[in-house]
């Protein structure tokens, strides 16, 4: 395989699709440290990138991998890393730097069971809060959760586009189930794939202020080597990028970094609704668990129970307004996830006082359709 975008049908696993999504999005630099269940992404990139003249570096650890990704992105490349929970734990400080210095990049977490080394080969959805709150300080993050091999491709492309548009790291939260699952993937023709590139400065270098933003709140991005000679620091900085420890500058900067995502949350957010128009019981879930939930909702309908499904494709920013709206007319909400209670807290907060049934699943697979159906029945009474 030597063409840049292998348009057509493939029978492949999610990690393969994710790697091809990165290639299609124009990723020119990839760095990672091997870890199950994300290694296959690196392996596929390692075989494809050299042929395309792109840069793959297997780093000495995940701290270095994400640092180099940020350096590459600041040098004008689209860049990505892929890992699992332990690797994300190591990357968090530099992810905060990418947020602070507004460097686009894509971070793939093929989630596995934790805490610690946990269950390396088995799926989980237990890093969704780490993703949201892991980096220190006030941080807004964007995270997408694929439910299929096809979405591993599509959402990786989309993750690049969002990172370029908002100048921020974007997470793809896959898991061992999807990463290792074989399914049909259809790669569209190159001209059917939407590609977004970072906004470039329109001024001469002496007039360029690297952190001055217009109403979009996203500053145009010069890159190293382009002649702008700008300075970027993880310290609190003013519009010139210079360190400034004043309360005013901290306030202004942190608000802008958060608000550029908060104020666009409706534009960024993607959800998928199935039979929610008339539902009495609403199931809210994401990723691989949504496949179980979709079956459960079908089974419930066959029994005459009006169940509906809201699948979150974007986990962060969280679609609280949408859940609140849908929950207005239901008897209860069911939240299955592969952890011991994470996104359910966000749902509870959004739907109060509607009752919420949480279905935790720890280890390997999502809760079964039967388990979810049983809770739907209980709430429908």
């Amino acid at each position: 395989m030597s063409e840049t975008i292998p348009t057509g049908k493939h029978f492949v696993h999610g990690d393969w699709a994710c790697a091809e999504g990165a290639i299609a999005a124009g990723c020119g630099y990839f760095a990672a440290y091997p870890i199950t269940p994300a290694t296959e992404i690196s392996e596929h990139i390692a075989s494809r990138f050299p042929q395309l003249g792109r840069r793959f570096v297997q780093f000495e650890d995940e701290i270095g991998a994400i640092a180099s990704v940020i350096g590459a992105s600041f040098s004008g490349m689209k860049a990505m890393t892929a890992t699992s929970g332990p690797g994300i734990s190591l990357m968090l400080e530099n992810i905060g730097l990418a947020v602070m210095t507004e460097v686009p990049c894509v971070i793939v977490n093929v989630m596995r069971g934790g805490p610690s080394t946990g269950q390396p080969t088995m799926g989980a959805q237990a890093d969704v809060m780490q993703c949201r709150w892991g980096a220190h300080g006030d941080v807004e993050i964007i995270a997408l959760a694929p439910q299929s091999v096809q979405e591993c491709f599509d959402l990786t492309v989309h993750a690049f586009n969002l990172s370029e548009e908002y100048r921020t790291p974007v997470f793809l939260l896959s898991d061992a189930n999807i990463g290792h699952m074989f399914e049909k993937l259809e790669i569209p023709a190159a001209d059917e794939i939407e590609i977004v590139n970072r906004k470039k400065p329109q001024v001469f270098p002496p007039d360029y202020k690297p952190y001055e933003a217009d109403e979009s709140m996203v500053p145009p991005m010069a890159c190293f080597g382009e002649g702008y000679r700008f300075y970027s620091t993880g310290l609190t900085h003013n519009e010139m990028g210079y360190p400034d420890m004043s309360v005013e500058t901290q306030d202004k900067l942190v608000r802008r970094l958060c608000d550029k995502i908060r104020r666009n949350k409706k534009k960024i957010n993607m959800t998928e609704e199935t039979m929610t128009e008339d539902c009495d019981v609403l199931v809210v879930t994401y990723g691989v668990t949504a496949r179980s939930a979709a079956s459960a909702v079908q089974m419930a309908r066959r029994e005459g129970i009006k169940a509906g499904l809201l699948r979150l494709i974007t986990l962060w920013p969280f679609p609280d307004w949408k859940i609140e709206e849908l929950a207005d007319n239901v008897k209860g909400v069911v939240v299955p996830e592969m952890n011991y209670g994470q996104l359910v807290r966000e749902v509870e907060r959004s739907v109060k006082p509607t009752p919420v049934e949480f279905i935790p699943k720890l280890g390997e697979n999502p809760p079964s359709p039967d388990e979810i159906l049983e809770r739907i029945r209980r709430l429908a009474k």
Partner: protein, 273 residues
């Protein structure tokens, strides 16, 4: 009397950020001046340099140079520079950072960047302590020295930086001091033009922290660099730094081998054959 001030380096510095934050007597100003003087004498295209640093007093140097510059996280300057160097081969990353940044928290990245022979110049300000956090002992602090976290004297063995970096595979390794300004500047010029991983250790007094705690005045510390440092050609392993003994400075390694960018290009050819 009006003072004659030489402004010929104005284009090389961010004048709007001066004066710098460093203490009186600190060696970092001399390192900064030597760096920009080297760029000036080489007429180096400033658009093709990215000055990268980690965190610490030395790490602040990147903020005063009129090149693209990136003040990153503690210890990670080298992987950031690796990403820059491999994705845009026209750019020469120059890392200016401290001994703690590069050899304690960032030690792993240093040996791997040298092993891969990433094209970059690393200028390490070795002031024998963590200056910015208040002069605690670190991986270069000689035995028995007193610091706030070694109040009874340091019990740990220090690294010999030139030996460590040489054995990791660097193509240029030198050690100078802020007393030897001409040699330092020339060494930086050599590192800037070298294609490969170049490393310059610069012995530099931290007057406020380390100096004061060990009862050395700024002048004592400069005199010490003059009197104990000897320019000699020895094997890097012999260039240890021990209190009361002479310190060998000079060039230790100067070899040629393919850079990481070179082998990546070879890989592209191999993969498409």
């Amino acid at each position: 009397m009006t003072e004659q001030i030489d402004y010929y380096l104005e284009d090389y510095l961010r004048m709007d950020r001066l004066p710098h934050i460093w203490c009186a007597g600190c060696g970092l100003g001399i390192i900064l001046k030597s760096y920009v003087q080297a760029l000036y004498e080489l007429e180096y295209d400033l658009d093709k340099i990215v000055t990268v640093s980690g965190i610490g007093c030395a790490g602040r140097a990147s903020g005063y140079v009129n090149t693209d510059a990136f003040h990153t996280t503690h210890g990670r300057a080298l992987p950031f520079a690796t990403g820059i160097s491999t994705s845009n081969t026209d750019i020469k990353p120059v890392v200016i950072s401290g001994d703690g940044d590069l050899f304690a928290i960032g030690g792993n990245h240093l040996i791997h960047a040298a092993r891969r022979n990433i094209n970059m110049l690393v200028i390490c300000s070795n002031n024998f302590n963590y200056g910015m956090t208040g002069a605690q002992y670190g991986p270069t602090t000689p035995r028995d020295m007193r610091t706030p976290t070694s109040p009874y004297g340091n019990i740990e063995n220090p690294f010999n930086l030139v030996s460590l970096v040489s054995s990791a595979g660097a193509t240029m390794v030198s050690r100078w001091t802020v007393f030897h300004v001409n040699q330092l500047k020339n060494s930086i010029k050599k590192g800037l033009t070298k294609n490969g991983f170049s490393f310059i250790e610069v012995l530099s007094p931290c007057t406020t922290g380390y100096g004061r705690l060990n009862k050395m005045s700024p002048i004592d510390m400069m005199r010490d660099l003059r009197d104990t440092c000897k320019i000699r050609k020895v094997h890097p392993t012999e260039a240890t730094i021990e209190p009361g003994k002479e310190v060998i400075i000079g060039d230790f390694v100067d070899i040629e081998k393919p850079t990481y960018a070179d082998v990546l290009d070879q890989l592209t050819r191999r993969s498409t054959e």
